[in-house]
């Protein structure tokens, strides 16, 4: 199951955000935070587990969920790629901007020189 498909659903994203802030939560804790039915939440947890985004550990009757840190590294990876793309775009734009500014300064200097060079009438 694809991680990005799993994260496209708002309730599932909310579960991930809760786990990211709390560290770990039991299935019961997670269900309590939602108005959606318990079976629906267990279905979401199943999708997240199959996408390898969360890990589950059985402790007696309890099922404890936490984030899979490796999956989060993958997420950070594509965020970084996007940032690199924009950094490159901004750097290139900055170079264009600086070149245009220099042209303007040269033009201004030239026009000042021209004014000074004009003989007084």
């Amino acid at each position: 199951m694809d991680a990005f498909y799993a994260l496209a659903e708002p309730n599932r994203r909310h579960i991930i955000e809760m786990l990211a802030t709390r560290g770990q939560l039991t299935a019961t804790d997670i269900c309590r935070k939602f108005e959606v039915s318990a079976p629906a939440i267990s279905q979401h947890l199943k999708v997240l587990r199959e996408a390898n985004l969360v890990q589950m550990e059985k402790r007696g009757q309890q099922r404890i969920y936490r984030i899979n840190p490796e999956a989060m590294i993958q997420f950070e990876g594509w965020a970084r790629q996007l940032m690199e793309l924009w950094t490159q775009r901004f750097d290139a734009f900055d170079a264009v901007l600086m070149a245009e500014k220099q042209k303007m300064v040269k033009k201004r200097k030239k026009s000042i020189r021209n004014v000074q060079a004009k003989p007084k009438k």
Binding site: A8, W78, Q81, L82, L85, W86, Q88, A92, D94, L97
Partner: protein
């Protein structure tokens, strides 16, 4: 002068926000950002040739940029201008043509002037998280090393 980018991914709202401060007045930043003759110099990755196919800057007007790979293959991006408020704000839709319709991104670019410098903010709003992932992979995945090279070139130019 090379300044750092401020980058935020807001997963809940499916937004990616990029900010950068440019050392120039807002009117100039706007003028250059919206100049079709200059777009080929900065919009696409440097290893690709950017061509402005269409840029009809009015509400409802279309834009289309083509990127050409060194092997001659081409990919196109296009969309529609929705809001044009010079020199403050630009809002348009953004489509990566190879993935087809239904994956439209809204891009909002704002220009704010502070003490003769301009803060440019680009906010990208995605409909689906997998679109965000798709955009990253739209021919940019090899860009990483090249980005570093280009960055080094820029540093040389500016030092």
């Amino acid at each position: 002068m090379v300044t750092t980018i401020n980058f935020t991914v807001n997963r809940g709202a499916l937004e990616v926000v990029m900010e950068r401060i440019f050392d120039a007045p807002r009117s100039l930043v706007w003028k250059l950002w919206t100049d079709p003759n200059l777009i080929p110099q900065w919009w696409g990755p440097s290893r690709m040739k950017t061509t402005v196919d269409r840029m009809d800057m009015k509400p409802g007007g279309r834009w289309r940029f083509i990127l050409e790979n060194p092997d001659g293959s081409k990919i196109a991006f296009s969309g529609e201008y929705r809001e044009i408020v010079p020199p403050e704000r630009l809002l348009y839709t953004f489509n990566f043509e190879p993935i087809g319709p239904g994956h439209e991104v809204i891009e909002v670019v704002t220009f704010e002037e502070h003490e003769h410098k301009t803060k440019l903010t680009s906010k990208n709003i995605y409909q689906k998280l997998e679109d965000l992932e798709g955009m990253v992979q739209s021919g940019m995945e090899e860009g990483s090393n090249e980005t570093m090279e280009r960055f080094a070139d820029l540093l040389k130019k500016h030092s």
